[in-house]
């Protein structure tokens, strides 16, 4: 048990001394220690920590935040929400049921509650849902000195000031000045003269992946968000985007493995199992269909039981080919390397890879059959099956994710296990049909 956890426990018994010990500790570290405490104790600690507690809260995982807030006494709820930054508070309230969120909003100061309500209107995975409304904007006819004065006035509340945004009389975004340029500029200069009008912005409704891609492409620290009229409504900061990129990658990895719900938050093995079962059972349905196909060829198996030896090998081969293609397609789409314009070249390239891989593996399969069985017809059957099924797998492996993208669905829905199970069914069908014909095992 880390000493910090002991401090937190001590905090409840002897607030003054422990608070002294916690001074200067980064809220992220305190949050990490707090994670190991049970809910009831964690709530006591948050209460004693006061405003620092709200800061710590923002570093906890969303599910834990929700659990801690839901059961907290009203006074603590109000204390936490008041201390959190607007975007963190909106993220937290967005995970609650609307009536619960409404009740909590009523406990907040009206002006702050209004800001949070405005953020809640945007989808959680959009630029609007990720932005903070705490930014510094000045008008273009103001001077550098006036901008600095404005910054001093707003800075305590606007926690993330890297740039000062320049707007016109209607609040429309006109330009941007880096904080450094502002500091070193001559105080009398007009902002219109020192600002850069080459400002990159996003629309509030834009998807968070679009936002992440812009950050990456332009190496930004913050990105202004505008509404349809071009008015500045908020700012997305790079630390939020880092979380987005990480979450998206995890989601892709999970979906590729056929996990469609976040699992790391569940502790009970039964509940973890329940989340995975529907999908696994559905795939078993496909495998049952494959079993029925093999069942149709019972007579062939009885005539040559060795046919069964190769089933898993052939299945695995097609499944791996399909999963590879899905993985490349999903990440190529997620990182923006392939989009609605460039998908043709990508499909062509994957087709070449599919063909080359199928050819190589077909030769290897023929060799395996020959070395082991010295039967040219069995070799040919294995080789043909590998060639056909790998090409089909490659085709499906990139066409399904691309198709889903064109339909504006998440390409990762085409998971590895889905394609593997489908290919199992297809592979045994091709294999037994080909083998029965070539080896003359038909009825």
């Amino acid at each position: 048990m880390s000493p910090l956890v002991d401090r937190l426990r001590q905090l409840v018994r002897d607030p003054t001394r422990a608070r002294e010990a916690l001074r200067g500790r980064h809220p992220a570290d305190v949050a990490e220690a707090l994670r190991t405490l049970p809910d009831a104790e964690a709530r006591q600690v948050l209460e004693v920590l006061g405003p620092q507690g709200a800061e710590v809260m923002a570093y906890l995982p969303p599910e834990r935040q929700r659990a801690l807030l839901q059961e907290a006494p009203p006074s603590l709820q109000a204390q936490i929400l008041a201390g959190m930054s607007t975007d963190d508070a909106a993220d937290l309230l967005g995970t609650l049921r609307p009536e619960e969120a409404g009740a909590l909003l009523d406990r907040m100061a009206p002006a702050e509650a209004e800001d949070v309500r405005r953020l809640l209107r945007y989808g959680p995975q959009t630029a609007g849902g990720r932005m903070t409304p705490e930014f510094v904007a000045v008008r273009q006819d103001q001077s550098v000195a006036e901008a600095l004065a404005e910054l001093r006035r707003l800075a305590p509340s606007a926690e993330t000031v890297y740039y000062v945004y320049v707007v016109d009389h209607e609040g429309r975004l006109q330009g941007v000045v880096g904080l450094r340029d502002l500091i070193v500029a001559s105080p009398e200069a007009r902002l219109a003269a020192v600002m850069s009008s080459r400002v990159i912005s996003v629309q509030a409704e834009d998807d968070q992946e679009t936002v992440a891609r812009l950050f990456e492409k332009y190496g930004l620290l913050a990105l202004p968000v505008v509404d349809r009229e071009g008015r500045l409504v908020g700012v997305v900061t790079v630390d939020d985007v880092l979380n987005v990129v990480e979450e998206e990658a995890t989601e892709d990895a999970y979906r590729l493995a056929g996990l469609f719900e976040a699992v790391e938050t569940e502790r009970s093995p039964w509940r973890r199992a329940l989340r995975r079962l529907p999908w696994l059972l559905g795939l078993m349905g496909l495998e049952a269909a494959a079993a029925q196909v093999v069942g149709r060829f019972e007579h062939a198996l009885q005539a040559l039981v060795a046919l069964a030896f190769f089933i898993p090998m052939l299945n695995d081969q097609a499944g791996n080919m399909g999963t590879q293609c899905v993985a490349f397609a999903v990440r190529a789409i997620a990182t923006g390397e392939v989009d609605r314009r460039s998908y043709r070249a990508y499909a062509l390239r994957e087709a070449v890879v599919g063909l080359a891989s199928a050819l190589t593996s077909a030769v290897v399969a023929a060799a395996i059959g020959w070395v082991w069985w010295q039967d040219a017809r069995l070799s040919l059957a294995l080789s043909l099956t590998v060639f056909v099924t790998m090409n089909v797998a490659a085709l499906l492996g990139y066409l399904i994710p691309l198709g889903l993208t064109l339909l504006r669905r998440d390409p990762a829905l085409a998971s590895g296990p889905l394609i593997t199970s489908f290919m199992d069914f297809a592979t045994v069908t091709v294999y037994f049909t080909v083998a029965v014909h070539l080896l003359g095992l038909g009825g």
Binding site: A212, D239, L259, L301, Q324, A327, V353
Partner: protein
């Protein structure tokens, strides 16, 4: 975009450097690089030489490695060093690191004082904090005042990239504190920097793994992370935008690893890198050979199979379901290690994962038991299918979780534990269990 490209080509053809520079001034470096990539090799070189040197350096920073390498080959040493001098030190080190040794030495020689900083960066491996850092940061001595810090900011001018933090160091260059530009604006000019700085800043060692650095930056919500040696002397900073790329690359690597796809050498969507095609095809062919093990394993049970051919009907179901469960656990392990949610004690999560496998196995095994018994009208077969599925799903969860954790524990790259490796192992375990169980059950039955 096409008109932009058309105009660029026209200016290049007719030799109008001023018009070209005016056009470039409208564009962000990243967009200028996009435009640049649409030109042919000869046009690229011409454009690079016509642009202002700082714009040209900006474009060079944004270009993919191969394109950049090609261009540098065509520049003479004087042109190349002039451009590299204008780049950020981290980018300059990346560019120089790819050059042949003798050219690298010649260029460093031409670069003079700046070369020292780049040489420090060249010492660190690409996947470490040192390999990612830049030496372009703003630091002030701890006895100075706010006004001095502002003066220093003015002095470093455009050199430091996107400065947001000012670092405070002592006489030995040891990192003492940090304050943000925001703190600077709010503070009175004659206040000592020591009063506005935050002490005990978070820092990493240059040998720290870059994933670890990304996690640290993310955990503390920082915009830049200082890199210090063991004595606490400040060497450079890593900026959040570089780590954004790291996080994304690592994510892609993990996803591809789950699919057993080879590491990406070119961009995912680039042209047709033949070596890469050969790698992917070769990997699959190798995998085929590996799977002969499963075929040999089954052939050992030929007599059992001959007694009950229907056993073969369930090969795909047993193998695939075990493979699925194994891959799921692998995904949890791999992303858990990447994002740090496995925490201090990954083995606790591993036990939970194995219990999950057992629970999943109980349900899937039950369903398979009912299906096999009813379909084939054979209770023994049902028991064998159901029992084997339950046991192999439990083991598959263990394999998917434990193998990458073991690799990490003994410091073997967990990338070796790819999806296909796990499925190959679970194939053999599940089919082996299935056929052993079948042999036993058939042996005791009349």
């Amino acid at each position: 975009m096409s008109t932009l490209l058309g105009r660029t080509r026209a200016y290049l053809a007719s030799g109008q450097p001023d018009a070209l520079r005016a056009l470039a001034a409208e564009l962000h470096a990243a967009d200028l690089a996009d435009l640049f990539l649409q030109l042919n090799t000869r046009e690229r070189l011409a454009m690079l030489l016509l642009l202002d040197v700082d714009r040209a350096a900006g474009v060079l920073e944004e270009l993919p490695d191969e394109v950049r390498g090609q261009l540098l080959e065509q520049l003479n040493d004087e042109e190349a060093s002039r451009l590299i001098l204008q780049m950020g030190t981290d980018e300059a080190a990346d560019v120089l690191g790819e050059l042949p040794r003798d050219r690298l030495r010649r260029l460093l020689h031409r670069m003079g004082r700046e070369a020292e900083e780049v040489e420090i960066l060249l010492r660190y491996r690409e996947d470490t904090a040192g390999g990612l850092m830049t030496t372009d940061y703003v630091a002030v001595r701890d006895h100075l005042r706010v006004a001095d810090a502002i003066e220093e900011l003015r002095r470093v001018g455009q050199d430091a990239e996107l400065p947001y933090y000012v670092y405070v160091v002592d006489g030995e260059e040891r990192l003492r504190g940090v304050f943000s530009l925001r703190d600077l604006v709010v503070a009175p000019p004659d206040a000592p920097v020591r009063e506005i700085m935050r002490t005990d800043p978070v820092a990493v060692h240059p040998e720290t793994d870059r994933e670890e650095a990304a996690r640290t930056l993310e955990k503390y919500d920082l915009l830049a992370l200082p890199v210090c040696d063991t004595d606490g002397r400040m060497l450079g900073i890593i900026t959040a935008d570089d780590l954004l790329r790291v996080t994304e690359e690592e994510g892609t690597e993990d996803v591809l690893r789950l699919a057993g796809a080879p590491a990406v050498m070119a961009g995912l969507a680039g042209g047709l890198p033949w070596l890469w095609v050969v790698k992917r095809a070769g990997f699959l062919a190798f995998n085929l050979v590996l799977n002969v093990v499963a075929a040999v394993l089954i052939s050992r049970f030929e007599s059992t199979l001959e007694r009950l051919v229907a056993l073969a009907f369930f090969f795909p179901m047993v193998a695939a379901t075990a493979g699925n469960v194994g891959t799921q656990s692998l995904a949890v392990a791999v992303r858990g290690m990447a994002t740090g949610f496995l925490g201090e004690d990954p083995w606790r999560v591993a036990i939970r994962e194995v219990l999950t496998g057992a629970a999943v196995g109980a349900v899937c095994g039950g369903v398979a038991f009912v299906f096999a018994t009813l379909w084939q009208g054979n209770l023994q077969l049902g028991v064998v299918v159901g029992g084997a599925l339950w046991a192999s799903l439990t083991l598959a969860a263990a394999v998917g979780m434990v193998i990458p954790l073991c690799f990490a524990a003994i410091r073997v790259d967990p990338a070796v534990a790819s999806g296909p490796l796990i499925t190959t192992i679970t194939d053999n375990i599940s089919l082996g269990l299935y056929l052993v169980l079948a042999t036993l059950v058939l042996a005791v039955s009349p």
